[in-house]
Symmetry: C2
Subunit: 396 residues, 2 copies
């Protein structure tokens, strides 16, 4: 049998992260690879209790089909949370619950992208967003980006000269993979440009609550006067990723379309997962829980940065993120991070080479370091190991 796959399949490749994650399942591996939360912080006991309560109070409802839009108490929570933290003005009907914010990316592609449409993104950008959008046959333009966000003149130039720009995809808070955070000014400039050119903006924000220092900045939605901004959110980093619950928020006329494609994609999110999270939010103080996460990750970031500062050789630079889970490392252009990985895996240390985060390729002299998942002693040991490898390579 000669399988006749759809044309899109020729452009899709396995996510480096998901492939490397298979290696990192071995307990001896020190992993800076995945965006994995620290499992020791999961509220296991609380979830056990909440599961019991949900099944006792509304067991048959929790195990039955429900509406595509999602469980209303959880939709309301998401709307209120964004409104109080990010200067938005969402209500229940602006929210669709999704299987992680990853699903919201896929649905975005389905709702907006025809073959040949263009997605503008930061350079670099989240690699699984590239794969999600690519399945709809789009092209990518990487907008030149500095530490404050996309550079407005460059964005304007690209929007003016690109006929089929449909989506601008950004992660303004503690970006994946760089850890960068957009300035307030750049946020406003981006939304103004999007409104002017009638392009949709997808603001991905899975890490925003994990801020170690500085003030929370408003969502891009705060500047949106026409309904062009869609906001993605997730429980994966503030609660736990195993439940696969996130959301997309936006203009009701757009969310209706998302509901329609979600029907075809998987009917609805896991009912009991939605109810368990809602009950947890009712019975426990999630802010207290997030404070705990934040404190642990802040210490790990401090330690990771200090270790890199002390150990990495000259010619290697890295970001110092104000929050989130990732730092971004640049090594001399003549060294490939894939070669570094090959060597480091021999010593059981894993990370994700940076090239995959650039939809149009190149930039192989970069890599991403996750600092949230490993305990402190392993962070030091793993980064020292990388430093050793880098020192040898930089010398050559």
């Amino acid at each position: 049998m000669k399988f006749q796959f759809a044309k899109r399949m020729a452009h899709l490749k396995a996510s480096d992260i998901r492939e490397i994650l298979k290696v990192t399942e071995k307990p001896e591996v020190i992993s800076f690879a995945g965006g994995l939360p620290a499992p020791e912080l999961f509220p296991v006991e609380e979830i056990k209790r909440v599961n019991r309560i949900v099944l006792e109070e509304e067991g048959t409802k929790a195990l039955q089909y429900t509406t595509t839009e999602g469980y209303n108490p959880l939709r309301e929570w998401a709307a209120n949370r964004m409104n109080s933290r990010l200067g938005t003005n969402f209500e229940l009907d602006n929210i669709l619950l999704t299987h992680g914010s990853q699903q919201a990316l896929d649905l975005s592609g389905k709702v907006f992208l025809d073959e040949g449409d263009v997605v503008l993104c930061e350079s670099p950008t989240y690699l699984a967003a590239i794969n999600a959008f690519k399945a709809y046959g789009c092209n990518f333009i990487e907008v030149p980006t500095d530490d404050d966000g996309m550079i407005p003149d460059e964005l304007e130039r690209i929007l003016e000269s690109t006929k089929r720009a449909k989506i601008i995809y950004v992660i303004p808070e503690f970006q994946n993979p760089t850890g960068r955070t957009w300035s307030l000014e750049r946020r406003e400039q981006l939304v103004k440009a999007a409104m002017r050119h009638q392009v949709m903006v997808i603001e991905d924000n899975p890490y925003g609550e994990i801020r170690f220092e500085g003030e929370t900045l408003p969502s891009l939605k705060y500047f949106d006067q026409v309904g062009c901004v869609l906001c993605l959110g997730s429980f994966s980093k503030i609660f736990c990723p195993g439940y696969r619950i996130g959301w997309v928020a936006g203009d009701e006329r757009v969310i209706e379309k998302y509901v329609l494609v979600k029907q075809g994609a998987d009917l609805q999110c896991n009912t009991i997962a939605q109810m368990v999270i809602a009950k947890y939010l009712e019975l426990y103080d999630i802010d207290e829980h997030i404070t705990k996460i934040r404190e642990v990750y802040r210490q790990r970031r401090d330690l990771a940065i200090k270790t890199m500062e002390n150990e990495f050789p000259e010619g290697v630079t890295f970001t110092k993120p104000q929050g989130g889970l990732f730092a971004w490392v640049k090594i001399p252009v003549n060294i490939s991070a894939r070669d570094v990985l090959e060597k480091s895996l021999e010593d059981n240390v894993a990370f994700v080479p940076g090239g995959s985060f650039f939809p149009n390729g190149g930039n192989e002299n970069t890599f991403r370091i996750n600092f949230s998942n490993m305990p402190e002693d392993r962070i030091v040991k793993g980064l020292q190991c990388l430093a050793d490898i880098l020192r040898k390579l930089v010398k050559i």
Copy 2:
């Protein structure tokens, strides 16, 4: 803002079922609409216990990210179950776990369908499959179908004259919406035709375990010598739908592609859901549970059929399914089932008009009756109400 949706959005419409399901959330409504299992049969106590055990034994693992392919003990169970029941020969690597078998339909579209490709289906067919495939810009050809399945000569004629046939989509066991079951001979004839024409077959089988009488027949896969048959399965009807766990099984070279698109779609299935189901299967006898479901649904089917036989006026015909959740009603061609629904909703009785199950339209004089979800007294009351409406309309 003038939203520029993708072209596919013009062809998608809200599922009649999902819309009617919103009405049926009112407790006073007698619903024959959804394919909802009987909630009083959900093993709530057992699930409560299993949840506790999973969280106690492997809490952090259950709440963390996992591999895209799915939780291995559950993949193994799915392979073994199909092998022992359906004459297949699957192993672990032939299985991808999905968010319900609905997601397997969506992923099938993504893996195989380019715009303009053709999906062959039974006439009528499962309406949410139509929407899932339609999102990929395909066209549908309804293959003339009788009580034994697709008519081989018609199928052959269509395959010969259709250049871009990519997928044949069928539900050979207790079909949705008709309740029909394919004969063994037709199964073999279908697979032979598919192999000859090098077309993929998607065999959807969510109801196969709910057989009230007669022998279980082998899967289409049993006749497949080249890897053209993909089998979908689901825990929604034999366990509970709220968990949204199903699977797709097939040739490893094809499943690899499904894994790739699942990565982009939502990374992975809910981890704790997979582990809870696997633990349930380890600790309890699911066959005992299925026997209970089967017995209750058989009684409900008997009662529904008897009531329709006694009450429905002449000129109205219906199927007598050997299993599953649905019967299919034909009313005189001059009556529209949508008009019947409008009247019956006034009396708080709901069902799904049949027109939506025909991808190319027409056949408005049909509707689907679900008999699994309502207790016996309400089945009788609801069908009597429909009979009253039909009697009046048939007379006119």
